[in-house]
């Protein structure tokens, strides 16, 4: 299987590293002219091009790691060329864009795999498996929190809501997808959002209460309001006959305290990590590789990605209008 990664920024690099642990061959990086693309290409022995069309004929799948506002365009171009698509989360900026992407891939007979990587984090995956096995009974109240610092890249598209959808879509979409994976479809969302810092780029902390069709409730917290290098995640699922709890800071397996370390150390874009023999990103791309090679169903579908965007959009609308937003079942895109 031959792969081209579109986007040579932070996530392009993460995916390239993850692909290197799979049998797939990384053929090319597609990106803006510059040293970053050349460096990635050099590191992984791939070509670097600035136009997707230059490599479409040579690959089986394109892996879209661009800013979110470009997901739809690249997906449509890859589908038109008959290439499978792997797309970073969130699937797109809007529900309509997601539907268009799903329709296009279906029409072209190619797969659309959405990288909701949280489903490959072992702690989240294990908790969901225990719930699915009935170990704590039907889920009743979920608490999901993802709290970190505001991304601080040079080209900081994350903080531009027109490009990323803002914190609620970019960050909270992980937990919206997870809540739905664990407790089923969401029918109502009420959310409030805050701009805690003087930075002029919008919401950096939000709280949402999701009501699932099953009657379960989810409390979802997302934050870019912490100082670097904090990245705290918390997961709690209370069920009819038991409770599962994961508190990120409490599971820190290795602690290093260097006297001369700067307090603000860490990467420019927050990424939660724990020492594992296979990273969640590698596990995800291995699953996608297997799904494409064997034609099997991946653990997360494009429709799941769409549903997560729908919840995020409802949360954004709720926070803007100050009212709960009901979520209507989407008709399957034709």
């Amino acid at each position: 299987m031959r792969v081209a990664i579109i986007g040579t920024g932070f996530m392009g690099g993460v995916h390239a590293e993850a692909w290197s642990h799979t049998p797939a061959r990384l053929i090319a990086f597609v990106g803006k002219p510059g040293a970053q693309g050349e460096a990635l290409a050099g590191k992984y022995g791939a070509r670097f091009v600035t136009d997707l069309d230059a490599v479409l004929a040579d690959v089986d799948v394109v892996d879209i790691c661009t800013p979110t506002d470009m997901h739809a365009e690249f997906t449509l171009r890859a589908a038109a060329a008959g290439r499978h698509v792997i797309c970073e989360k969130p699937l797109a900026l809007t529900v309509a864009e997601c539907q268009k992407m799903i329709r296009a891939c279906r029409a072209a007979g190619v797969r659309l795999l959405v990288a909701q990587v949280l489903r490959f984090f072992p702690e989240y995956k294990l908790a969901r498996m225990l719930v699915a096995r009935g170990e704590i009974g039907p889920p009743a109240v979920l608490r999901l929190s993802r709290a970190t610092f505001r991304p601080r890249k040079a080209d900081n598209w994350f903080v531009d809501a027109n490009r990323s959808g803002g914190m609620i879509l970019d960050l909270m979409v992980h937990d919206f997808d997870y809540a739905r994976w664990v407790a089923g479809d969401v029918v109502r969302v009420f959310a409030k959002a805050a701009r805690t810092s003087a930075a002029p780029d919008g919401i950096d902390h939000a709280l949402a209460i999701l009501t699932h069709r099953s009657g379960a409730l989810s409390h979802v917290e997302g934050s870019w309001a912490f100082p670097p290098p904090v990245f705290r995640t918390h997961l709690e699922i209370a069920g009819a006959s038991g409770l599962i709890e994961f508190d990120g800071p409490a599971t820190t397996a290795v602690e290093v305290h260097l006297r001369d370390e700067e307090g603000a150390a860490g990467s420019e874009v927050p990424l939660p990590t724990s020492p594992l023999l296979e990273s969640p990103f590698a596990a995800q791309l291995r699953a996608f590789h297997d799904a494409l090679v064997q034609g099997s169903e991946p653990p997360v579908s494009a429709e799941d990605g769409l549903a997560a965007v729908q919840i995020a959009r409802a949360a954004i609308e709720s926070a803007q209008r100050g009212v709960p937003v009901e979520i209507a079942p989407l008709h399957q895109p034709q």
Partner: protein, 339 residues
């Protein structure tokens, strides 16, 4: 000596309060009475406490103050009896199950010129006091929002009336919400203007009448918003009764406080398994001390009946919101006039 009595052992906190009163040198624990004779005799014997046959007999002992630990819905008649007897009152939370009752209690105490203190021990919790100092010093900058939890085991394992709609007034929302509403009002120095709530009965131990879980989103007059998780979501095997946490998000950073993290972990060789033993300062002791000191100093206690009323207002609005699926606006009536 400040002479203190206990009305009813319905609420399990009564047992702790008895020890708290005994630990205060200037207080004298005169005894108790209970409208459930069997319950009264059981607890009085266990605690080595004199039990009077009726509340009238108890109040004949020249009490300075009384601690009301009856079922939520019985707080009003008991507070009214105590007020008529001229005793200052510490009333277990929630102050009542209906706003009309809470208002009548405040009025009765104002008329009798006795204190009505609501039992909100979290105002005396040392980690929360330190957190409030940090907020008051402006260390976080302007606050935007708060994330709070007061989750616990289903209390019906201790007393069945906690899941009796008539006596308790509701389930998890009635039981747990008021603590955090009070601490939030205290920390933010602002009143709640909007309440959104969703409840669930998927957690065990409830019945058709009362919910076992709930998530609430409050908006305060100053624009700060806060969520409360009041769920009875801690299973029987949980190493402690539950807990209370708060996260404050401000312009300069975030403060997290766990009111009950100061624990030892105990791992026995045999079942029932891991337990936690808290070694933090005893907030209940400080609360009872404040009740006694306020009586001695002839001043209002630090927490009042109005605080209990405000917290109950939010609970009542939460039930209304959960029914309607819409946020409910609070228009503050001037209960303060009644004081």
């Amino acid at each position: 000596m400040i002479r203190i009595g206990v009305m009813s052992f319905a609420h399990p906190h009564a047992e702790g309060y008895v020890e708290n009163v005994r630990a205060i040198p200037e207080a004298e624990l005169v005894g108790a009475a209970d409208d459930d004779r069997t319950r009264g005799e059981h607890h009085a014997a266990r605690l080595g406490l004199r039990l009077w046959p009726t509340y009238e007999d108890l109040f004949a002992q020249q009490l300075d103050g009384v601690i009301v630990c009856s079922e939520n819905a019985r707080h009003r008649p008991h507070v009214e009896i105590a007020a008529r007897a001229g005793a200052h009152i510490l009333c277990e939370k929630p102050l009542a199950t209906a706003l009309t009752d809470a208002r009548a209690m405040i009025e009765a105490c104002a008329h009798a010129e006795v204190h009505l203190m609501t039992a909100f021990p979290m105002r005396f919790n040392a980690p929360l006091l330190e957190a409030k100092r940090a907020l008051d010093d402006g260390r976080l900058g302007g606050l935007s929002c708060c994330v709070t939890t007061n989750q616990g085991q289903n209390p019906s394992r201790h007393r069945h009336w906690f899941v009796d709609k008539e006596l308790a007034g509701g389930g998890a929302v009635m039981d747990h919400t008021v603590h955090l509403v009070d601490v939030l009002r205290w920390c933010l120095r602002s009143e709640v203007v909007e309440v959104y709530a969703q409840t669930t009965d998927l957690l065990p131990g409830g019945n058709a009448e009362v919910e076992t879980g709930g998530l609430i989103l409050l908006t305060f007059a100053d624009g700060v918003f806060a969520t409360i998780d009041c769920s009875w979501s801690r299973p029987a095997s949980f190493p402690t009764w539950g807990g209370l946490t708060m996260e404050f998000v401000g312009g300069r950073g975030v403060l997290f406080v766990d009111a009950f993290r100061q624990n030892l972990m105990i791992y026995p060789e045999r079942s029932p398994g891991v337990t936690m033993r808290n070694w933090g300062s005893d907030a209940n002791q400080a609360m009872i001390a404040e009740f006694v000191t306020a009586i001695r100093e002839r001043r209002n206690p630090a927490v009042t009946g109005l605080d209990g009323y405000r917290a109950l207002e939010v609970v009542v609005a939460a039930y209304e919101s959960a029914r309607a699926g819409q946020p409910v606006r609070l228009g503050h009536q001037s209960v303060r006039d009644a004081l």
